[in-house]
C-alpha cells in the first residue's frame, strides 16, 4: 500500500483516529455483527476492517469523524483510496491559481467523462473552490493574489477531489486527488519551501507553471512585473525544488526520483500565437471521445519536444536544462487557462485551452490512467501501481 498522508498537515498515517464532536478520540463505528463474528475477533490477525461509507455516514450523523493524529478531519473513506498529491509550483504571477481553478472546474464539468472517470470534491474544498470559481468563471474577474503563509511549518489548504473510474477488469478504481496551491513568493527559496511548503515533501505529481514572459526572447508578451523577474530566478526555483524532492526521500542530489512526475505548464500560451516559431498546434484540447488516449499521449510527447525546442530558442536553455535533467519525468504543455489576457482586472471571456493535458499525463504517470503512448520505451505490461491489480 502506498504511503497515506493527511491532506492538511501531510503527516503520514495508516489508520484514522475517530473523534467525537469535542475532539476526543472515540471508538470507530462498526457494523452490527453477529455473536459468532464477535467470537472470532480474538482470532483475527489482520487489522479491523476500515469503516464503510455507511458507517461513516452514521458516524457523521453522530458527530464522530475520522481524523489524522493531529485532529484534521479526513474525507469519507479517504484512507481507502490511494492519493495523488499534486503540488503547483511557480513564481509570483505565473497563473497557478487561475490554472488550477479552471482545471478543477473542467473536471467538475465532466472533462474526464469520455474516459469513464467521474469527479467529486470534498465538501470543505468545494466551499472554498466556489469562491474562486464564482469570481473567475462567473464574474470573469482576475483572482486575487495568493497570500503567503506567515505561520512557519504550515501548508496551504488543499483542494481534495475523488476520481472514480472503471479498471480493465471492470472493478471500480478510485483515487484521492489533492491539489496544493501556494503563493509563488514561498516557492523560490529552499528555506521557504521547507517552512511553508510541506506539501512538496509529500507530492507525487508536480505542476510547474511558467509564464512565457519570463523567457528573454518572449519579453514582448510579458505581463506587468514579469520582465523584472529574470529567468535565473526561475532556474533557481527549479533547482531548489529538485533538491527538496530528493531531500524528502533522503536521496543524493543527483539521484533519480522514480515516484514523482512533473508536468511543466507554459501558461498564458494564447499570447504566443502570434510569436514566430511558436508551434501553435500544441495549444489545443484533446477530443477524448474520438481519439484513443494512447494516440493522444503520443501527440503530447511530440508537442512537449516541440515546446522544449521553442523555449530553448527563446532564451530558456538554462531553465529547460534544469527542468529536463533535475525534475522527474517532465513533459511540457502549452496552456491558456482563460484564453485571453486580463484587462482592467477582468477577462472578456473564459475560453480555456490545453488545461487538461498536464493532469492527464500526471494521472497516467501515477497509474490511474493507462500510460500507453506516453513513454513507449518504458510502457510495458499495462497499468502500473495498485490500480493495475
Amino acid at each position: 500500500m502506498r504511503r497515506r498522508v493527511c491532506p492538511r498537515c501531510l503527516e503520514p498515517l495508516t489508520a484514522p483516529v475517530w473523534r467525537d464532536a469535542t475532539g476526543a478520540p472515540t471508538r470507530p463505528p462498526v457494523e452490527r455483527r453477529t455473536r459468532w463474528q464477535r467470537l472470532l475477533d480474538p482470532l483475527r490477525t489482520d487489522p479491523l476492517p476500515v469503516p464503510t461509507a455507511r458507517d461513516a455516514a452514521g458516524a457523521a450523523a453522530a458527530s464522530v469523524v475520522p481524523t489524522c493524529p493531529r485532529g484534521h478531519r479526513l474525507p469519507p473513506e479517504y484512507l481507502d483510496r490511494p492519493t495523488i498529491v499534486v503540488g503547483l509550483v511557480g513564481l509570483t504571477g505565473a497563473s497557478k491559481s487561475t490554472y488550477l481553478t479552471v482545471l478543477i472546474d473542467l473536471l467538475h464539468e465532466g472533462a474526464l467523462a469520455p474516459l469513464g472517470v467521474s469527479v467529486e470534491m470534498d465538501e470543505e474544498s468545494a466551499a472554498r473552490f466556489d469562491d474562486h470559481r464564482y469570481r473567475l468563471l462567473v464574474q470573469r474577474q482576475q483572482l486575487p493574489l495568493t497570500l503567503p503563509l506567515l505561520g512557519q511549518g504550515s501548508s496551504p489548504e488543499p483542494f481534495i477531489l475523488v476520481l472514480r473510474g472503471t479498471g480493465r477488469n471492470g472493478a471500480e478504481r478510485t483515487v484521492n486527488l489533492v491539489f496544493f496551491d501556494a503563493s509563488g513568493e514561498q516557492l523560490y527559496r529552499s528555506e521557504d519551501m521547507g517552512l511553508y511548503g510541506r506539501f512538496l515533501y509529500a507530492a507525487t505529481s508536480l505542476l510547474v507553471v511558467l509564464s512565457p514572459g519570463v523567457f528573454p526572447r518572449l519579453r514582448s508578451v510579458a505581463d506587468p512585473g514579469e520582465d523584472s523577474m529574470g529567468l535565473a530566478r526561475h532556474t533557481q526555483m527549479v533547482v531548489n525544488l529538485a533538491n527538496v524532492l530528493r531531500a524528502a526521500r533522503s536521496l543524493p542530489l543527483d539521484a533519480h526520483v522514480d515516484d514523482v512526475a512533473t508536468a511543466v505548464v507554459l501558461s498564458k500560451a494564447d499570447k504566443l500565437r502570434g510569436v514566430p516559431d511558436f508551434p501553435a498546434e500544441t495549444l489545443r484540447d484533446p477530443d477524448l471521445r474520438t481519439m484513443p488516449l494512447a494516440h493522444w499521449f503520443a501527440d503530447v510527447r511530440d508537442n512537449s519536444s516541440r515546446l522544449v525546442d521553442f523555449l530553448e530558442v527563446s532564451g530558456g536553455s538554462n531553465l529547460l536544462t534544469a527542468v529536463l535533467h533535475r525534475l522527474p519525468r517532465p513533459t511540457v504543455h502549452a496552456v491558456s487557462a482563460t484564453g485571453s489576457d486580463a484587462r482592467d482586472g477582468g477577462y472578456p471571456r473564459i475560453a480555456p485551452v490545453g488545461v487538461l493535458d498536464p493532469l492527464l499525463v500526471l494521472l497516467a504517470r501515477s497509474g490511474f490512467l493507462s500510460a500507453e503512448g506516453l513513454d513507449p520505451e518504458e510502457y510495458g505490461a499495462g497499468l502500473r501501481g495498485e490500480w493495475s491489480r
Binding site: L91, E185, M229
Partner: protein, 555 residues
C-alpha cells in the same frame, strides 16, 4: 514633550521588493530593528492581513519598544493582480508612543495608503517624525457618557487586573470613536502598557501586558460585571474639561484624583487602606488627619499597607502640619509607653514621624515637669532617664516616679543620675516629706549618700531618716551606716548608736556583734571621752565585719 524619529518599514506585493517579486518587505529604514524583522518570514504575523477587511491598525510592544502599524487594502500589485495590501510599520525604540499617537497618525493620514508613485525598494527609508499626540478634553453629552461607561469600565477592570485583554467597540451607536475618547480620558502613564489592535490578530509576539481589541461587535458584558463608578466619574470629569494628569500610573492614584475629596469626608473606619492612601495623597490630608482618630488609624494602617505607608511618608514630607500632627501622635504614644507601660507605637510609625531619642527625652522631661510620673521605673525607663540626663536635659528627678526605692537604686548605680539628683537636691531648697522618704531609701541603698549629701540635709531631718533606714538594713548595713554617722558631719550626737544601732531593732546578738566591733567609735560619737571609750571597748574584744546585705526589700 518633543516627537520621535521612528524607523519605518513597508510590506506589500510588488514586481520588485527587497525580497524579490510578490509579497515582501518593500522598504525599511536603515535602523529598522532586525529583531522585529526585515523579511516576510521574520515579520511573520505582524504583516498578516485580510484585504477584504479593508483596514487594520494597532500598536504592540516588543521588548522595550513599540510597533505602530496600519495595514490597508491596496490597488493591484505589480503583476496587475487584485488582493494586494500594504502594511506600514513604525518602530519606537523607547516605547514612549502609544495608542494616542497611533490614532493621531491614522487620523492625520500619515500612514501610507499606497506606495508612492516614484518609489523603489530601499533599505534606507528615512525615519518618520512622530510627535506626541495633543490631549484635549472631549466634549461628551450625557448620552455619550452613558454609552462609553461600560467599555471604559471593562478596560479599567483589565488594567486593574494588570494583564489580559478586553474588547472595545470601534464606535458608539452615535458614531463616536470609542478608542479616541477612552485613551484621551485615561492618563498616558496608565495606558503605557496597553496594546491595541483591530479585528482578530494572530500571535504577533506582543509583550504588552494588556491588550485591547477593537471590534465591530464585542461580546456584551453585563454592566454589573465591572465597577462603573470610576469610569463614569472619569468621563463626567472629562466632559467638564477636567482630565486626570497624564502622570497617574496606577488606578489607586487615579482614584485619589477622582474620589479623594469625597473620601476625606469619611473617617478612617469607613475607608479601605487604598482609600486612606488616596486621601493622604490628596490636599485634604492635613484636615483629615487632624480629625478624630484618623492620624492614629493611618499610623496603624501604615504598618500593614505599603500604599498607606508611602502616602503617609509623602504627606509628612509635604505638609508641615501633617508632620507635626503625626509627630505629636507618635510622641504621645511613646510617652504613654514610658509613663504607663502602654503598648506604644509601631517602629514604622516612629520612623515615619521622625521621632528621635532627643525628642523623646525632651518630651519626657516636659511631661514630668507637668506632673506626670513614671508608673514603673524598670530597666528600660531607667535607661531612658539616664540617657535624658546624659543629653543634658533638665529632668526633675524628685517628681519622676512614685517608685522611690527604684529611683534611689538608679541614682546609686548610675553616676549621671546620682550626680543629677545631688545637684537637684542642693538646688531645690526646703525640705519636704518627699526628701525625707528619698533620703531613707538612698541610705538603705548606700550609706555613702550621707556623706555625698552632706549639708544638703538639715540635721534635724536626719534622726527619723536614719532610724527608718536602719530599720530596713541587715547587720552589715546597720554597722556601715552607724560608722558613716559616727564619722560624718552629724557625728558627736550619739545618733549612730541610738538612731542606727539601737533603732535598727536587730536582735540583741546582732547588736552585740556590732557593738563588739564598733564600740569605741559609737561611744565617742555618743560623747564618751576617747580614752575611756577605747578602754571600755578593748575590755569587750571585737570580731570580723559580716557581709552586708539589705534586710528587707520593701520601701
Amino acid at each position: 514633550m518633543s516627537g520621535r524619529a521612528c524607523p519605518q518599514a513597508l510590506y506589500t506585493s510588488a514586481s520588485r521588493t527587497l525580497e524579490g517579486p510578490g509579497f515582501g518587505v518593500y522598504a525599511h529604514s536603515a535602523d529598522w530593528p532586525a529583531d522585529v524583522g526585515r523579511t516576510r518570514k521574520a515579520l511573520g504575523a505582524l504583516v498578516g492581513f485580510r484585504p477584504e477587511d479593508g483596514e487594520a491598525y494597532g500598536v504592540l510592544s516588543r521588548g522595550a519598544g513599540r510597533v505602530l502599524y496600519r495595514a490597508v487594502a491596496a490597488r493591484a500589485d505589480g503583476f496587475g493582480r487584485p488582493g494586494n495590501y500594504l502594511v506600514h510599520l513604525l518602530w519606537d525604540e523607547g516605547g514612549r508612543l502609544g495608542v494616542r499617537e497611533l490614532l493621531a497618525l491614522r487620523r492625520a493620514g500619515r500612514f501610507l495608503d499606497a506606495l508612492p508613485e516614484d518609489s523603489a525598494p530601499s533599505a534606507d527609508l528615512p525615519p518618520l517624525r512622530v510627535a506626541f499626540a495633543d490631549r484635549a478634553a472631549p466634549a461628551l453629552t450625557p448620552d455619550e457618557v452613558d454609552a462609553l461607561t461600560p467599555p471604559l469600565a471593562g478596560l479599567l477592570a483589565t488594567l486593574a487586573a494588570g494583564s489580559g485583554s478586553c474588547a472595545l467597540p470601534v464606535r458608539t451607536a452615535s458614531g463616536r470613536e470609542v478608542a479616541e475618547v477612552l485613551f484621551v480620558v485615561l492618563p498616558r502613564a496608565l495606558t503605557s502598557g496597553v496594546s491595541l489592535s483591530t479585528g482578530v490578530r494572530e500571535d504577533v509576539g506582543d509583550t504588552a501586558p494588556v491588550g485591547v481589541r477593537l471590534t465591530d461587535a464585542p461580546a456584551r458584558t453585563a454592566v454589573a460585571a465591572h465597577d462603573t463608578e470610576r469610569a463614569r466619574t472619569l468621563l463626567e470629569a472629562a466632559s467638564k474639561a477636567e482630565l486626570a494628569p497624564d502622570e497617574l500610573a496606577d488606578l489607586r492614584r487615579l482614584d485619589a484624583w477622582l474620589f479623594a475629596d469625597a473620601w476625606a469626608e469619611q473617617d478612617a473606619a469607613g475607608l479601605s487602606a487604598d482609600q486612606v492612601a488616596s486621601v493622604l495623597e490628596s490636599s485634604a490630608a492635613p484636615r483629615w488627619l487632624g480629625r478624630g482618630g484618623n492620624a492614629a488609624a493611618a499610623l496603624d494602617l501604615a504598618a500593614g499597607s505599603p500604599a498607606v505607608e508611602t502616602a503617609l511618608r509623602a504627606a509628612v514630607d509635604r505638609w508641615p502640619a501633617v508632620a507635626e500632627l503625626v509627630r505629636g501622635r507618635v510622641l504621645a504614644a511613646l510617652l504613654d509607653e514610658v509613663f504607663d507601660g502602654a503598648a506604644g507605637p509601631a517602629e514604622l510609625a516612629v520612623e515615619v514621624a521622625g521621632v528621635g531619642q532627643a525628642d523623646l527625652c525632651a518630651a519626657l522631661a516636659g511631661e514630668v515637669r507637668r506632673g506626670r510620673r513614671i508608673a514603673r521605673l524598670d530597666r528600660a525607663a531607667g535607661l531612658l532617664v539616664e540617657q535624658t540626663l546624659t543629653l543634658g536635659v533638665d529632668l526633675p528627678l524628685f517628681r519622676l516616679t512614685g517608685q522611690t526605692w527604684e529611683l534611689a537604686l538608679l541614682a546609686t548605680r548610675r553616676e549621671v543620675v546620682g550626680d543629677a539628683l545631688l545637684a537637684q537636691w542642693r538646688s531645690s531648697g526646703g525640705w519636704t516629706a518627699e526628701h525625707g522618704e528619698l533620703l531613707g531609701h538612698l541610705l538603705v541603698a548606700d550609706p555613702g549618700w550621707l556623706a555625698r549629701l552632706g549639708d544638703a540635709v538639715p540635721v534635724s531631718a536626719l534622726p527619723p531618716a536614719l532610724r527608718w533606714a536602719a530599720l530596713r538594713m541587715d547587720v552589715a548595713g546597720v554597722e556601715e551606716l552607724a560608722a558613716a554617722v559616727a564619722t560624718g558631719a552629724a557625728a558627736g550626737r550619739g545618733w549612730a548608736l541610738r538612731e542606727v544601732v539601737f533603732g535598727s531593732e536587730l536582735p540583741a546578738g546582732d547588736v552585740d556583734q556590732v557593738l563588739g566591733r564598733r564600740l569605741e567609735l559609737l561611744l565617742v560619737d555618743d560623747g564618751w571621752p576617747r580614752e575611756l571609750a577605747q578602754s571600755f571597748a578593748r575590755s569587750r574584744g571585737g570580731g570580723d565585719p559580716p557581709r552586708r546585705r539589705r534586710r528587707r526589700g520593701d520601701g
